[in-house]
């Protein structure tokens, strides 16, 4: 990290930016286990948290790391971990507990090529569906994907804010390219982002009910050590936290943790659009693929093709609103992803056959090249 003080321009790496964004947003507890290409986040936290009154711990594995950040959050901390594919797989069971028990926390997944150990130092976007459905049972998840180093700062802070606001785990989906890329970033002007805090019960609230199923979607959250003591369990529970098998209570609980997020999909949608006003061919992309797609849009326009880009920063919950709005003007939608077809299924679902959707996949451990996307679009137009 190096900076020019006057202009507030700093040169840093994506993983580092994600770490500073986290700390700026109030993260004061980090537990993790080293894994390429995410280890820089843990290293940053190990250096900095003790300086600002926070605590860092390197756990024995990712299962314990996930457990520790949930425990810390329950005790009042803002907590985070960072990992990559194999570690993210290990976190899934406890991630489900955080969903069910409505406990805020942030998980950074710097995607690398899988499955299994795969290509530890090469990028991929293969964990998109795992992020959505990796833990068992019905649940919802919030996941954001930055495409620039500056966005690593902004969206990590946003992850913290959303996890607090919705009392739920939030995933920052990076990929190896963004995580390791260096860019200069202009530090956000004062007051640019407001990070929310979890709703709190009042100290003297009688009959405090910590969990959903009753009055509000996101009930106030007390913390261990405060004036309200309460029970937390990974068993399906009622508003007070006690295990229940009463069908109406179970139904309310599960729908509660899903609806609080899924019904807000359109509000949570963050998009960045390039030349979509008059576009006939829409590139739909996210993360590092979107950077290349943007370059392709430029090339295609030079060649007279009315191309545009819809880049989503919010991956989950998926909002099809913008796609539906754009659909009538489109001849086709092209979805380049560094996987063999993941988020494209949501795009297809959103436009429901109104526009043909084509997927361009890449799983050789390399980023797209602009020409590859351009050629694919031109071929599609010709056919």
């Amino acid at each position: 990290m190096s900076g020019n003080n006057e202009r507030s321009i700093w040169v840093m790496q994506g993983n580092e930016a994600c770490s500073v964004g986290a700390v700026a947003a109030g993260i004061n507890f980090f537990a993790g286990y080293p894994i390429t290409p995410s280890s820089e986040v843990a290293e940053f936290m190990a250096r900095h948290l003790p300086l600002i009154g926070g605590r860092f711990i390197q756990m024995e594995d990712e299962i314990a790391s996930m457990a520790a950040i949930i425990g810390a959050s329950l005790a009042g901390a803002r907590s985070m971990t960072a990992t990559s594919g194999p570690g993210f797989s290990l976190m899934q069971e406890n991630l489900g507990l955080a969903c069910l028990a409505e406990i805020p926390c942030v998980i950074v997944n710097v995607q690398r090529a899988g499955p299994s150990t795969g290509l530890p130092t090469q990028p991929a976007q293969g964990d998109v569906m795992q992020t959505r459905w990796g833990t068992h049972g019905d649940h919802a998840i919030i996941a954001l994907a930055p495409a620039t180093v500056l966005e690593c700062i902004e969206l990590t802070a946003c992850c913290v804010s959303l996890s607090e606001q919705f009392r739920t785990p939030v995933v920052l989906l990076l990929d190896e390219v963004i995580g390791h890329m260096r860019e200069s970033v202009a530090i956000p002007a004062p007051g640019s982002y407001k990070v929310r805090s979890r709703p709190l019960p009042s100290d003297d609230e009688e009959d405090y009910r910590p969990f959903c199923g009753g009055q509000s979607d996101v009930p106030p959250m007390a913390h261990f050590g405060g004036p309200h003591r309460f029970h937390v369990t990974g068993l399906t529970h009622d508003e007070r936290g006690f295990p229940t098998m009463v069908p109406e209570e179970v139904d309310k609980k599960i729908r509660g943790i899903v609806d609080k997020i899924e019904l807000k999909a359109d509000d949570l949608a963050m998009n960045d659009e390039t030349m979509t006003d008059d576009c006939e061919v829409l590139l739909f992309a996210y993360g590092s693929s979107a950077r290349v797609a943007k370059a392709s849009v430029g090339i295609l326009r030079e060649r007279g093709v009315k191309a545009g880009l819809l880049r989503v920063k919010t991956i989950w919950p998926f909002s099809g609103k913008r796609l539906k709005e754009l659909a009538p003007q489109l001849r086709s939608i092209i979805v380049p992803e560094m996987n063999l077809g993941q988020l494209v299924t949501e795009v297809e679902r959103a436009v429901a056959g109104v526009v043909p959707v084509r997927h361009l996949g890449r799983v050789d451990g390399h980023l797209f090249e602009p020409d590859q996307i351009t050629d694919f679009v031109l071929e599609e137009m010709a056919s």
Binding site: A25, A31, A67, I70, G71, L74, E93, I187, H231
Partner: protein, 302 residues
């Protein structure tokens, strides 16, 4: 005496209906009453105490206790407890785990918790079996004994939890049984007061899933077995290896002073921020650079 019972009762959750989910005659009832009694005698602040468990019959223990309680995933109680304690060190953190929970699926977490010496008390209820899932053999099922997945006798050899904890570096390690209730009270209190990671193995009876398969006539018969097989540390010192065959040793096995994790961590953090002499120049420059950036970011994102 009855006053003591009344006091202990105030540490049971008022909203939670008794009886418990446990079978009649199960030693877990003894552990619950001992733990609540000790909490009452120590006058633990309920709001400043967190009782944390994994999954299993033992995992249900916190559900009944009137402190902050956290029922986690199978084997992971110590990971959660680590986060709770690090985020709020003023909490008294107590975990309750079964033998499968603590030394099978949670074995790795257990040894590392022993090594780290964070101020957490681990109560391990060792009934030598997976009770909740119906009697499959566990890492503490003795060689030759039966489980539903060891129908011809256990081929494997069992863990000695006390040796495991001691070897992994726990600074307080003790063992007793649900038959030796007074000792159980005493050891739980000592363990909770100990500053560092403390382990109390409580040998218990699971007649439903273990006793029946291993020729015990009932829960009481198992109490008799505990009474007869447990020897004190002192007695054991005077016994030959042959005489110790089939016995287990109760009492305090390890009790030592060693700096506690959070104490060390916080001291280090204090030195770093207050004592520049201990920080090398490169790190100092990073810290200063970071502080500048941090101030700017706080204005932008806050």
């Amino acid at each position: 005496m009855s006053q003591a019972i009344e006091r202990a009762r105030t540490y049971l959750k008022p909203l939670k209906k008794l009886p418990t989910v446990w079978c009649g005659g199960c030693g877990l009832g003894v552990v619950l009453s001992s733990l609540t009694r000790v909490m009452a005698e120590m006058g633990l602040d309920k709001n400043k105490t967190a009782t944390i468990s994994g999954i299993g019959c033992t995992g249900r223990l916190p559900t009944y206790i009137d402190t902050n309680t956290l029922h986690t995933t199978h084997g992971r109680a110590l990971g959660f407890a680590t986060g709770v304690k690090l985020a709020n060190p003023e909490l008294t953190v107590i975990t309750a785990m079964g033998d499968g929970d603590s030394v099978a699926i949670g074995g790795n977490h257990f040894i590392h918790a022993c090594r780290r010496n964070i101020d957490i008390t681990a109560i391990i209820v060792n009934n030598c079996i997976y009770g909740m899932t119906g009697g499959q053999y566990s890492p503490t099922t003795p060689h030759g004994k039966r489980g539903t997945t060891a129908p011809y006798g256990n081929v494997e050899y069992e863990f000695d939890i006390v040796s495991l904890a001691a070897g992994a570096g726990a600074t307080f390690v003790a063992r007793t049984t649900v038959y030796h209730v007074r000792e159980l009270d005493k050891l739980l209190e000592r363990a909770i007061r100990h500053r560092g990671f403390s382990v109390v193995e409580v040998v218990s009876n699971c007649y439903t899933s273990y006793g029946r398969l291993n020729k015990f006539s009932g829960p009481v018969d198992m109490f008799k077995w505990m009474k007869e097989s447990a020897v004190t540390v002192k007695q054991a010192g005077e016994m030959s290896p042959e005489e110790l065959e089939g016995k287990f040793i109760r009492g305090i096995h390890v009790e030592k002073d060693q700096p506690e994790f959070i104490d060390v961590y916080d001291k280090l953090a204090q030195d770093l921020t207050k004592g520049p002499s201990t920080v090398n120049q490169k790190l100092r420059a990073t810290i200063e650079g970071y502080e500048q950036l941090g101030d700017k970011l706080k204005a932008g994102i806050g």
